[in-house]
Amino acid sequence: MSVAEILLQQVVNGLALGMMYALLALGFTMVYGIIELINFAHFSVFMTGTFFGLTVLHLMGFTGSSASLTGLPLVGMLLLVFPVTMALTGGLGVLIERVCLRPVRGVSGTAPMITTIGVAFILINIVLMIWGPQSKPFPKIIPDRRWAIGQAEISLAQIFLAVAGISLMLVLNFLVKRTALGKAMRATAQDMDAAKMMGVDIDRVILLTFFLGSALAGAGSLFFGFYYGFTAFYIGYQTGLRAFTSAVLGGIGNIPGAVAGAVIIGLIQALGGQLLGVKWTDVIIFSILITVMVFRPAGLFGTQTPQKA
């Protein structure tokens, strides 16, 4: 492989990673945009989502050693497993908001954030109790098909990740920019009290924000499972932390910023690993984050105006 081909391959790898981080980063950024809360439970919602997806696939008869699908059965399968898993993680997000976060909403200080950390640990331990500590193989229903670009190659799973990821983000963008719900969300983000006075049902808006963010994390969970072929209880922290970093890098509260931040982090991870070594991955990512924070405290695409969503 020539140097250019290796770099091209790493860019492909990095974009795939970035796409996965983006789906998670959106959940962080939306919740922050609305209620200015950093929701650490999101890490664990993502992780639990992989186990929801695994269970849905098992119920449909797919195990770790099942053969991959092609054509219509594959499309049908994906159209079934994605909505179900996303609905389940969305439901989990709603449950967390309703049971754990609404009672502490408006409490000043760090109480709500600490609550989310607590919820994250509770979820990890529930998963440990039900599914155990070993990593579980994920059914590979997406066939291992690859196309060569010189010596570099791009796989079907990567293309699927990119296409489906971008579609979901466009849907989200449409929801936020063009619908009444989106208008209510943006109003709540700008000024919660004023929105309430104008008749916006704040509780409902916040609940729906959690639902959307968690559902996107659920889609991310399935991408993770299909792409890496395994899941385990510990995967939430590392992926979640990088996604959170993406949201901060892009300017937390800013939806396009989160996506851009995620793609940048993905590329840094792949190219940094290539040029310096993977043991330095976190050092590289966080050095860049700190540098950006020093010169642009609001993030690359963030603004200091109250316009957040």
């Binding site: 790898n13 070993q134 690993g273």
Partner: protein, 404 residues
């Protein structure tokens, strides 16, 4: 305290005392010697830990069925050394467990640990307590090396005995195998950042360089990272014909899976860290096929004289043993022998005396051959055996690794 409550308290104490004496009946004279075991029974290495602990349990049960050893009934005390936060063995938890063993005066010796990362944490504690452990699988040479005596056995006497040899042989002999048998010319080396993984990868690297195998690079996998495609793409660009991985299961299953996608044809070399019957299942059979694993003990599993032992093990525990089930089994035999000799020499069965007896152990014709230790606790036999995963996901014995 009033008189009435004083009498009440005395009555309760008396009753408790009676209860403690009564149920023993005829066997009340039989004393108990406890053997502590701290193993990562949950987490990524749970399967191999389970098969090892059961090997030790088999020996304890057999000895107790024959009436114990020199008037002592053996009793296993088993703790988990893995934590949810680590997802695998946790050296801090191992140290906590061993401190609990030390505080229980009936514990005379330990079996374990499984991992050298745990070994480095517990060896100094054992040295202070003058209590021996016999490890059936921990192979990092530093722990018993006199060079690091002040670190791992500050009191001087050997406390870390092994029924397996060390990575001073395991890593280099795998390099010999790669060079002489597989004709590897260029190799890339990865480790998992653990005490065992880094140590064995270092010893492999040194030997590979002596043999003039070109080492095209060295990097470290984060066991909690999901994505190894970055590093594998980098390795692909360097075009080696061999990859060595020093480390245990958590990173191994992901590495095997993604390596199968990126570089399916490369020679895949591992250590006893991947010799775990769950490895082919968790990484998928296709991905595990072709992986080489070493074992720091002679091959006993495919030896005819072990057939009966294996049958007993399987029917008792309903699972397959690994070689380190047998080294653990023999570890218990060494402790039992030491207790017996201590009693015969009319010495009290204390940790310190049992340690001294273990030091002078000389067991002939065990399933793995003769067992005796040098002054540092290392076994005298230095055999390293080789295994390769076949297409059905089974580890197949492929002979003894070349020593030169």
């Amino acid at each position: 305290m009033t008189r009435r409550s004083l009498i009440g308290t005395l009555a309760v104490l008396l009753a408790v005392g009676l209860l403690m004496v009564l149920p023993g009946g005829g066997s009340a004279q039989q004393k108990v010697a406890k053997i502590g075991m701290s193993f990562p029974l949950t987490g990524a290495d749970a399967d191999s830990a389970d098969s090892i602990v059961k090997g030790a349990q088999l020996a304890i049960d057999e000895i107790n069925q024959k009436g114990g050893v020199a008037g002592y009934k053996l009793e296993a005390v088993v703790f988990d050394s893995a934590t949810p936060a680590a997802g695998q063995y946790d050296p801090a938890q191992a140290a906590t467990n061993v401190r609990k063993f030390v505080s229980d005066s009936q514990v005379v010796a330990l079996i374990g640990p499984q991992m050298s990362g745990e070994g480095k944490a517990i060896s100094p504690i054992l040295s202070e307590a003058d209590m021996a452990t016999i490890t059936p699988s921990s192979t990092n040479p530093d722990i018993t090396d006199p060079k690091f005596q002040s670190q791992y056995r500050p009191k001087g006497k050997a406390v870390y005995f092994r029924t397996v040899t060390t990575d001073a042989f395991q890593g280099p002999n795998m390099a010999n195998h790669a060079f002489h048998n597989l004709k590897v010319k260029k190799v890339y080396i990865l480790d998992d950042g653990g005490a065992f993984g880094v140590g064995i990868a270092d010893s492999f690297e040194r030997r590979a360089k002596e043999l003039k195998i070109e080492v095209v690079g060295r990097d470290r996998l984060d066991p909690k990272e999901a994505d190894y495609k970055t590093i594998l793409t980098k390795i692909k660009g360097l075009n080696p014909d061999g990859l060595y991985y020093g480390g245990v299961q958590q990173a191994a299953v992901k590495l095997a899976r993604q390596l199968h996608e990126v570089l399916p044809k490369i020679h895949k070399l591992g250590s006893d860290g991947i010799y775990d019957l769950a490895f082919p299942e968790q990484s998928s059979k296709e991905a595990a096929e072709g992986w080489w694993a070493s074992n720091a003990s002679p091959d006993v599993l495919s030896d005819k004289k072990a057939a009966e032992w294996i049958n007993t093990y399987k029917s008792k525990f309903k699972r397959e043993p690994i070689n380190y089930s047998i080294t653990a089994y023999n570890g218990v035999k060494v402790i039992a022998d030491a207790i017996e000799r201590t009693v015969k020499a009319n010495k009290p069965v204390t940790r310190s005396n049992v340690r001294d007896a273990i030091q002078s152990a000389n067991l002939k014709n065990t399933l793995q051959g003769n067992i005796a230790f040098d002054a540092n606790g290392d076994i005298l036999s230095k055999v390293v055996s080789l295994y390769q995963v076949d297409k059905d996901g089974k580890f197949v014995y492929k002979g003894v690794a070349p020593e030169k």
